[in-house]
Symmetry: C2
Protein backbone atom coordinates (compact mmCIF):
# COMPACT_ATOMS: atom_id res chain seq x y z
CA UNK A 1 0.00 0.00 0.00
CA UNK A 2 2.96 2.27 0.33
CA UNK A 3 3.41 4.15 -2.87
CA UNK A 4 7.05 4.77 -1.96
CA UNK A 5 7.79 1.17 -1.16
CA UNK A 6 10.75 0.85 -3.36
CA UNK A 7 11.36 4.48 -3.99
CA UNK A 8 15.03 4.11 -4.73
CA UNK A 9 14.41 1.45 -7.35
CA UNK A 10 11.43 3.23 -8.82
CA UNK A 11 13.22 6.52 -9.08
CA UNK A 12 16.01 4.68 -10.73
CA UNK A 13 13.80 3.25 -13.46
CA UNK A 14 11.78 6.38 -13.95
CA UNK A 15 14.90 8.50 -13.88
CA UNK A 16 16.66 6.22 -16.32
CA UNK A 17 13.81 6.68 -18.77
CA UNK A 18 13.76 10.44 -18.25
CA UNK A 19 17.49 10.71 -18.81
CA UNK A 20 17.36 8.63 -21.94
CA UNK A 21 14.31 10.54 -23.16
CA UNK A 22 15.99 13.87 -22.63
CA UNK A 23 18.90 12.85 -24.77
CA UNK A 24 16.73 11.33 -27.47
CA UNK A 25 14.36 14.28 -27.73
CA UNK A 26 17.09 16.91 -27.60
CA UNK A 27 19.15 15.29 -30.30
CA UNK A 28 16.38 14.02 -32.60
CA UNK A 29 13.36 16.19 -31.85
CA UNK A 30 9.89 14.89 -31.12
CA UNK A 31 9.28 13.38 -34.55
CA UNK A 32 12.68 11.77 -34.82
CA UNK A 33 12.62 10.33 -31.32
CA UNK A 34 11.53 6.70 -30.88
CA UNK A 35 10.03 5.38 -27.67
CA UNK A 36 11.65 2.01 -28.32
CA UNK A 37 15.01 3.69 -28.67
CA UNK A 38 14.49 5.57 -25.41
CA UNK A 39 13.52 2.36 -23.61
CA UNK A 40 16.51 0.55 -25.05
CA UNK A 41 18.91 3.29 -23.97
CA UNK A 42 17.35 3.33 -20.52
CA UNK A 43 17.65 -0.45 -20.29
CA UNK A 44 13.96 -1.12 -19.74
CA UNK A 45 11.28 -2.78 -21.84
CA UNK A 46 9.25 -0.36 -23.89
CA UNK A 47 6.12 -1.43 -22.02
CA UNK A 48 7.75 0.01 -18.90
CA UNK A 49 8.07 3.34 -20.60
CA UNK A 50 4.36 3.35 -21.32
CA UNK A 51 3.61 2.15 -17.84
CA UNK A 52 5.37 5.15 -16.31
CA UNK A 53 4.50 7.84 -18.82
CA UNK A 54 1.50 6.44 -20.64
CA UNK A 55 2.25 8.13 -23.96
CA UNK A 56 5.20 9.51 -25.89
CA UNK A 57 3.45 12.85 -25.71
CA UNK A 58 3.38 12.90 -21.91
CA UNK A 59 6.99 11.83 -21.64
CA UNK A 60 7.91 14.60 -24.03
CA UNK A 61 6.04 17.18 -21.98
CA UNK A 62 8.04 16.27 -18.91
CA UNK A 63 11.24 17.00 -20.77
CA UNK A 64 9.93 20.15 -22.41
CA UNK A 65 8.72 21.65 -19.16
CA UNK A 66 12.05 21.33 -17.41
CA UNK A 67 14.00 22.63 -20.39
CA UNK A 68 11.72 25.57 -21.03
CA UNK A 69 11.80 26.99 -17.56
CA UNK A 70 15.57 26.58 -17.48
CA UNK A 71 15.87 28.40 -20.78
CA UNK A 72 13.62 31.28 -19.79
CA UNK A 73 15.32 31.59 -16.41
CA UNK A 74 18.78 31.76 -17.95
CA UNK A 75 17.88 34.61 -20.25
CA UNK A 76 16.32 36.62 -17.48
CA UNK A 77 18.62 36.06 -14.52
CA UNK A 78 21.68 37.00 -16.53
CA UNK A 79 20.65 40.65 -16.45
CA UNK A 80 19.02 41.00 -13.02
CA UNK A 81 22.34 41.66 -11.28
CA UNK A 82 22.92 43.75 -8.18
CA UNK A 83 24.57 47.10 -7.61
CA UNK A 84 26.93 47.41 -10.53
CA UNK A 85 26.75 50.07 -13.17
CA UNK A 86 24.39 49.21 -15.99
CA UNK A 87 27.26 48.88 -18.45
CA UNK A 88 29.03 46.39 -16.20
CA UNK A 89 25.78 44.53 -15.61
CA UNK A 90 25.35 44.15 -19.34
CA UNK A 91 28.95 43.03 -19.79
CA UNK A 92 28.56 40.44 -17.05
CA UNK A 93 25.15 39.37 -18.36
CA UNK A 94 26.50 38.57 -21.80
CA UNK A 95 29.15 36.33 -20.29
CA UNK A 96 26.70 34.58 -17.97
CA UNK A 97 24.31 33.95 -20.81
CA UNK A 98 27.09 32.66 -23.04
CA UNK A 99 28.25 30.28 -20.33
CA UNK A 100 24.76 28.98 -19.78
CA UNK A 101 24.29 28.24 -23.46
CA UNK A 102 27.74 26.65 -23.57
CA UNK A 103 26.62 24.20 -20.91
CA UNK A 104 23.32 23.46 -22.65
CA UNK A 105 24.26 23.78 -26.30
CA UNK A 106 21.37 21.72 -27.67
CA UNK A 107 18.65 23.53 -25.74
CA UNK A 108 18.09 26.61 -27.87
CA UNK A 109 17.56 24.69 -31.08
CA UNK A 110 15.30 22.24 -29.31
CA UNK A 111 13.18 25.01 -27.83
CA UNK A 112 12.97 26.89 -31.10
CA UNK A 113 12.02 23.82 -33.10
CA UNK A 114 9.41 22.83 -30.58
CA UNK A 115 7.79 26.27 -30.52
CA UNK A 116 7.73 26.42 -34.29
CA UNK A 117 6.09 23.03 -34.69
CA UNK A 118 3.46 23.52 -31.96
CA UNK A 119 3.16 27.18 -31.11
CA UNK A 120 -0.39 26.98 -29.76
CA UNK A 121 0.67 24.80 -26.89
CA UNK A 122 2.88 27.41 -25.28
CA UNK A 123 0.34 30.11 -24.61
CA UNK A 124 0.15 29.12 -20.94
CA UNK A 125 3.91 29.08 -20.67
CA UNK A 126 4.19 32.50 -22.20
CA UNK A 127 1.65 33.95 -19.83
CA UNK A 128 3.67 32.61 -16.93
CA UNK A 129 6.86 34.47 -17.91
CA UNK A 130 5.29 37.50 -19.56
CA UNK A 131 5.07 39.59 -16.41
CA UNK A 132 8.62 38.76 -15.38
CA UNK A 133 9.92 39.76 -18.77
CA UNK A 134 7.95 42.97 -18.78
CA UNK A 135 9.36 44.07 -15.44
CA UNK A 136 12.93 43.14 -16.36
CA UNK A 137 12.60 45.01 -19.61
CA UNK A 138 11.14 48.08 -17.92
CA UNK A 139 13.91 48.19 -15.32
CA UNK A 140 16.63 47.65 -17.88
CA UNK A 141 15.29 50.32 -20.19
CA UNK A 142 15.00 52.78 -17.33
CA UNK A 143 18.60 52.16 -16.25
CA UNK A 144 19.82 52.46 -19.81
CA UNK A 145 18.02 55.75 -20.27
CA UNK A 146 19.42 57.11 -17.04
CA UNK A 147 22.96 56.05 -17.91
CA UNK A 148 22.54 57.50 -21.39
CA UNK A 149 21.53 60.85 -19.94
CA UNK A 150 24.67 60.81 -17.83
CA UNK A 151 26.67 60.11 -20.97
CA UNK A 152 27.85 56.71 -19.72
CA UNK A 153 26.47 54.79 -22.65
CA UNK A 154 24.52 55.08 -25.89
CA UNK A 155 20.74 55.26 -25.69
CA UNK A 156 19.38 52.05 -27.14
CA UNK A 157 16.19 50.02 -27.03
CA UNK A 158 16.65 47.31 -24.42
CA UNK A 159 14.77 44.74 -26.51
CA UNK A 160 17.02 45.33 -29.49
CA UNK A 161 20.01 44.91 -27.23
CA UNK A 162 18.54 41.74 -25.81
CA UNK A 163 17.98 40.25 -29.24
CA UNK A 164 21.50 41.11 -30.33
CA UNK A 165 23.03 39.45 -27.29
CA UNK A 166 20.95 36.31 -27.70
CA UNK A 167 21.72 36.22 -31.42
CA UNK A 168 25.46 36.37 -30.92
CA UNK A 169 25.54 33.91 -28.03
CA UNK A 170 23.03 31.34 -29.22
CA UNK A 171 23.88 31.24 -32.90
CA UNK A 172 27.45 30.32 -32.07
CA UNK A 173 26.23 27.00 -30.73
CA UNK A 174 23.25 26.44 -32.98
CA UNK A 175 25.37 26.78 -36.09
CA UNK A 176 28.50 25.16 -34.71
CA UNK A 177 28.05 21.86 -36.56
CA UNK A 178 27.34 23.79 -39.71
CA UNK A 179 30.37 26.06 -39.55
CA UNK A 180 32.97 23.85 -37.98
CA UNK A 181 33.84 21.90 -41.14
CA UNK A 182 34.01 25.13 -43.13
CA UNK A 183 36.38 27.01 -40.87
CA UNK A 184 39.42 24.82 -41.14
CA UNK A 185 41.80 25.19 -38.20
CA UNK A 186 39.92 28.20 -36.87
CA UNK A 187 37.39 26.18 -34.91
CA UNK A 188 39.47 23.04 -34.56
CA UNK A 189 40.07 23.56 -30.85
CA UNK A 190 36.55 24.00 -29.52
CA UNK A 191 37.58 25.40 -26.17
CA UNK A 192 39.90 27.99 -27.64
CA UNK A 193 37.38 29.01 -30.24
CA UNK A 194 34.56 29.38 -27.72
CA UNK A 195 36.69 31.54 -25.47
CA UNK A 196 37.56 33.81 -28.37
CA UNK A 197 33.94 33.88 -29.44
CA UNK A 198 32.80 34.77 -25.93
CA UNK A 199 35.20 37.70 -25.85
CA UNK A 200 34.16 38.77 -29.35
CA UNK A 201 30.47 38.85 -28.44
CA UNK A 202 31.14 40.96 -25.37
CA UNK A 203 33.36 43.30 -27.38
CA UNK A 204 30.74 43.66 -30.11
CA UNK A 205 27.99 44.63 -27.68
CA UNK A 206 30.22 46.86 -25.59
CA UNK A 207 31.14 48.85 -28.66
CA UNK A 208 27.51 49.05 -29.64
CA UNK A 209 26.51 50.67 -26.36
CA UNK A 210 29.62 52.76 -25.83
CA UNK A 211 28.84 56.46 -25.65
CA UNK A 212 29.79 58.28 -28.84
CA UNK A 213 31.70 61.45 -28.14
Amino acid sequence: MDKNTDNIEKQNKEQLILTAAEHEFLTKGYDGARTTSIAKTAGVTHAMLHYYFRTKEQLFERIVDSKFSLMAQSMLTAFGNPNQSIVERIRGGIGLHFDFVAQNPQMPLFVINEIISRPERYDILYNRVQSVIDSIYANLQRDIDLAAERGEMERIDARMLFISIMSLNIFTFVAYPFMEPLMGDFMANRKVFLEARRAENIETIMRRIKAQQ
Copy 2:
Protein backbone atom coordinates in the same frame (compact mmCIF):
# COMPACT_ATOMS: atom_id res chain seq x y z
CA MET B 1 8.11 7.05 -77.79
CA ASP B 2 8.61 10.65 -76.94
CA LYS B 3 9.52 11.00 -73.29
CA ASN B 4 8.40 14.60 -73.44
CA THR B 5 5.04 13.83 -74.90
CA ASP B 6 3.08 15.83 -72.45
CA ASN B 7 5.87 17.86 -71.02
CA ILE B 8 3.68 20.65 -69.79
CA GLU B 9 1.45 18.23 -67.93
CA LYS B 10 4.32 16.17 -66.58
CA GLN B 11 6.26 19.15 -65.38
CA ASN B 12 3.08 20.29 -63.76
CA LYS B 13 2.66 17.09 -61.78
CA GLU B 14 6.31 16.73 -60.89
CA GLN B 15 6.54 20.39 -60.07
CA LEU B 16 3.40 20.26 -57.96
CA ILE B 17 4.94 17.49 -55.90
CA LEU B 18 8.23 19.34 -55.57
CA THR B 19 6.53 22.52 -54.46
CA ALA B 20 4.41 20.70 -51.92
CA ALA B 21 7.42 18.74 -50.72
CA GLU B 22 9.49 21.87 -50.29
CA HIS B 23 6.85 23.38 -48.06
CA GLU B 24 6.33 20.18 -46.09
CA PHE B 25 10.02 19.50 -45.49
CA LEU B 26 10.88 23.10 -44.66
CA THR B 27 8.10 23.47 -42.14
CA LYS B 28 8.12 19.99 -40.57
CA GLY B 29 11.59 18.63 -41.19
CA TYR B 30 12.36 15.23 -42.65
CA ASP B 31 10.95 13.22 -39.77
CA GLY B 32 7.81 15.29 -39.43
CA ALA B 33 7.08 15.33 -43.15
CA ARG B 34 4.60 12.77 -44.54
CA THR B 35 4.64 11.63 -48.14
CA THR B 36 0.86 11.25 -48.03
CA SER B 37 0.54 14.84 -46.85
CA ILE B 38 2.81 16.03 -49.66
CA ALA B 39 0.80 14.11 -52.23
CA LYS B 40 -2.45 15.46 -50.86
CA THR B 41 -1.19 19.05 -50.95
CA ALA B 42 0.06 18.53 -54.49
CA GLY B 43 -3.27 17.05 -55.49
CA VAL B 44 -1.91 13.71 -56.70
CA THR B 45 -2.22 10.16 -55.39
CA HIS B 46 0.60 9.12 -53.15
CA ALA B 47 1.50 6.39 -55.59
CA MET B 48 2.30 9.16 -58.06
CA LEU B 49 4.78 10.61 -55.65
CA HIS B 50 6.58 7.30 -55.45
CA TYR B 51 6.38 6.91 -59.20
CA TYR B 52 8.24 10.16 -59.77
CA PHE B 53 10.66 10.11 -56.87
CA ARG B 54 10.77 6.48 -55.80
CA THR B 55 11.40 7.17 -52.11
CA LYS B 56 10.83 9.90 -49.56
CA GLU B 57 14.60 10.01 -49.22
CA GLN B 58 15.16 10.85 -52.89
CA LEU B 59 12.45 13.48 -52.89
CA PHE B 60 14.05 15.01 -49.84
CA GLU B 61 17.44 15.12 -51.49
CA ARG B 62 16.05 17.07 -54.40
CA ILE B 63 14.81 19.73 -51.99
CA VAL B 64 17.95 19.72 -49.89
CA ASP B 65 20.26 20.13 -52.86
CA SER B 66 18.51 23.21 -54.17
CA LYS B 67 18.23 24.82 -50.75
CA PHE B 68 21.81 24.14 -49.76
CA SER B 69 23.43 25.67 -52.81
CA LEU B 70 21.16 28.68 -52.47
CA MET B 71 22.13 29.05 -48.84
CA ALA B 72 25.85 28.73 -49.45
CA GLN B 73 25.69 31.09 -52.41
CA SER B 74 23.88 33.76 -50.44
CA MET B 75 26.47 33.81 -47.71
CA LEU B 76 29.33 34.07 -50.15
CA THR B 77 28.05 36.44 -52.83
CA ALA B 78 27.01 39.04 -50.29
CA PHE B 79 30.64 39.95 -49.70
CA GLY B 80 32.22 39.52 -53.11
CA ASN B 81 31.30 43.05 -54.22
CA PRO B 82 33.18 45.25 -56.69
CA ASN B 83 35.24 48.36 -56.24
CA GLN B 84 33.91 49.86 -53.06
CA SER B 85 35.93 50.40 -49.95
CA ILE B 86 36.04 47.34 -47.71
CA VAL B 87 33.96 49.07 -45.06
CA GLU B 88 31.24 49.88 -47.56
CA ARG B 89 31.43 46.37 -48.97
CA ILE B 90 30.81 44.98 -45.50
CA ARG B 91 27.97 47.39 -44.85
CA GLY B 92 26.31 46.44 -48.12
CA GLY B 93 26.99 42.74 -47.55
CA ILE B 94 25.16 42.73 -44.23
CA GLY B 95 22.10 44.25 -45.85
CA LEU B 96 22.19 41.86 -48.80
CA HIS B 97 22.51 38.89 -46.49
CA PHE B 98 19.70 40.13 -44.27
CA ASP B 99 17.43 40.57 -47.27
CA PHE B 100 18.19 37.12 -48.54
CA VAL B 101 17.34 35.53 -45.21
CA ALA B 102 14.19 37.67 -45.01
CA GLN B 103 13.04 36.16 -48.28
CA ASN B 104 13.88 32.61 -47.18
CA PRO B 105 13.20 32.73 -43.47
CA GLN B 106 12.76 28.98 -42.97
CA MET B 107 15.92 27.96 -44.78
CA PRO B 108 18.57 28.49 -42.11
CA LEU B 109 16.79 26.39 -39.50
CA PHE B 110 16.10 23.70 -42.07
CA VAL B 111 19.73 23.58 -43.15
CA ILE B 112 21.01 23.56 -39.59
CA ASN B 113 18.64 20.82 -38.47
CA GLU B 114 19.48 18.72 -41.47
CA ILE B 115 23.23 19.01 -40.96
CA ILE B 116 22.89 18.17 -37.29
CA SER B 117 20.83 15.06 -37.89
CA ARG B 118 22.94 13.68 -40.74
CA PRO B 119 26.32 15.40 -40.78
CA GLU B 120 28.13 12.60 -42.58
CA ARG B 121 26.11 13.11 -45.73
CA TYR B 122 27.41 16.58 -46.40
CA ASP B 123 31.09 15.86 -46.74
CA ILE B 124 30.82 16.05 -50.53
CA LEU B 125 28.89 19.28 -50.33
CA TYR B 126 31.46 20.81 -48.05
CA ASN B 127 34.31 19.86 -50.33
CA ARG B 128 32.54 21.61 -53.18
CA VAL B 129 32.35 24.97 -51.40
CA GLN B 130 35.52 24.73 -49.34
CA SER B 131 37.82 26.26 -51.92
CA VAL B 132 35.41 29.10 -52.67
CA ILE B 133 35.14 29.93 -49.00
CA ASP B 134 38.88 29.80 -48.52
CA SER B 135 39.52 32.26 -51.32
CA ILE B 136 36.76 34.64 -50.19
CA TYR B 137 38.10 34.54 -46.67
CA ALA B 138 41.67 35.17 -47.81
CA ASN B 139 40.67 38.15 -49.93
CA LEU B 140 38.46 39.61 -47.24
CA GLN B 141 41.13 39.24 -44.59
CA ARG B 142 43.73 40.82 -46.82
CA ASP B 143 41.50 43.82 -47.57
CA ILE B 144 40.66 44.19 -43.89
CA ASP B 145 44.32 44.15 -42.93
CA LEU B 146 45.17 46.73 -45.58
CA ALA B 147 42.34 49.01 -44.51
CA ALA B 148 43.33 48.56 -40.88
CA GLU B 149 46.86 49.63 -41.64
CA ARG B 150 45.51 52.75 -43.29
CA GLY B 151 43.46 53.40 -40.15
CA GLU B 152 40.15 53.05 -42.00
CA MET B 153 38.84 50.31 -39.77
CA GLU B 154 39.66 48.09 -36.83
CA ARG B 155 41.78 45.01 -37.46
CA ILE B 156 39.56 41.97 -36.97
CA ASP B 157 39.51 38.32 -37.93
CA ALA B 158 37.32 38.00 -41.01
CA ARG B 159 35.84 34.72 -39.80
CA MET B 160 34.79 36.23 -36.50
CA LEU B 161 33.19 39.06 -38.39
CA PHE B 162 31.44 36.62 -40.67
CA ILE B 163 30.01 34.65 -37.76
CA SER B 164 28.79 37.81 -36.07
CA ILE B 165 26.99 38.98 -39.17
CA MET B 166 25.35 35.62 -39.75
CA SER B 167 24.39 35.39 -36.08
CA LEU B 168 22.67 38.76 -36.05
CA ASN B 169 20.92 38.29 -39.39
CA ILE B 170 19.87 34.65 -39.13
CA PHE B 171 18.88 34.50 -35.47
CA THR B 172 16.38 37.27 -36.02
CA PHE B 173 14.36 34.94 -38.23
CA VAL B 174 15.11 31.64 -36.56
CA ALA B 175 13.90 32.90 -33.19
CA TYR B 176 11.11 35.09 -34.50
CA PRO B 177 8.28 32.71 -33.51
CA PHE B 178 9.90 32.33 -30.12
CA MET B 179 10.30 36.02 -29.38
CA GLU B 180 7.27 37.51 -31.07
CA PRO B 181 4.76 36.61 -28.33
CA LEU B 182 7.16 37.86 -25.65
CA MET B 183 7.84 41.26 -27.12
CA GLY B 184 4.37 42.74 -26.96
CA ASP B 185 3.86 45.56 -29.42
CA PHE B 186 7.54 45.73 -30.26
CA MET B 187 7.38 43.05 -32.94
CA ALA B 188 3.69 43.39 -33.71
CA ASN B 189 4.30 44.97 -37.09
CA ARG B 190 6.65 42.52 -38.74
CA LYS B 191 7.72 44.83 -41.53
CA VAL B 192 8.54 47.72 -39.22
CA PHE B 193 10.39 45.46 -36.81
CA LEU B 194 12.46 43.82 -39.53
CA GLU B 195 13.47 47.18 -40.95
CA ALA B 196 14.59 48.34 -37.52
CA ARG B 197 16.38 45.07 -36.96
CA ARG B 198 18.17 45.33 -40.28
CA ALA B 199 19.44 48.78 -39.39
CA GLU B 200 20.43 47.63 -35.91
CA ASN B 201 22.50 44.75 -37.25
CA ILE B 202 24.33 47.02 -39.65
CA GLU B 203 24.92 49.57 -36.90
CA THR B 204 26.23 46.91 -34.52
CA ILE B 205 28.77 45.59 -37.00
CA MET B 206 29.78 49.02 -38.24
CA ARG B 207 30.61 50.06 -34.69
CA ARG B 208 32.51 46.85 -34.17
CA ILE B 209 34.84 47.53 -37.11
CA LYS B 210 35.06 51.29 -36.75
CA ALA B 211 38.63 52.43 -36.18
CA GLN B 212 39.27 53.41 -32.58
CA GLN B 213 41.01 56.76 -32.31
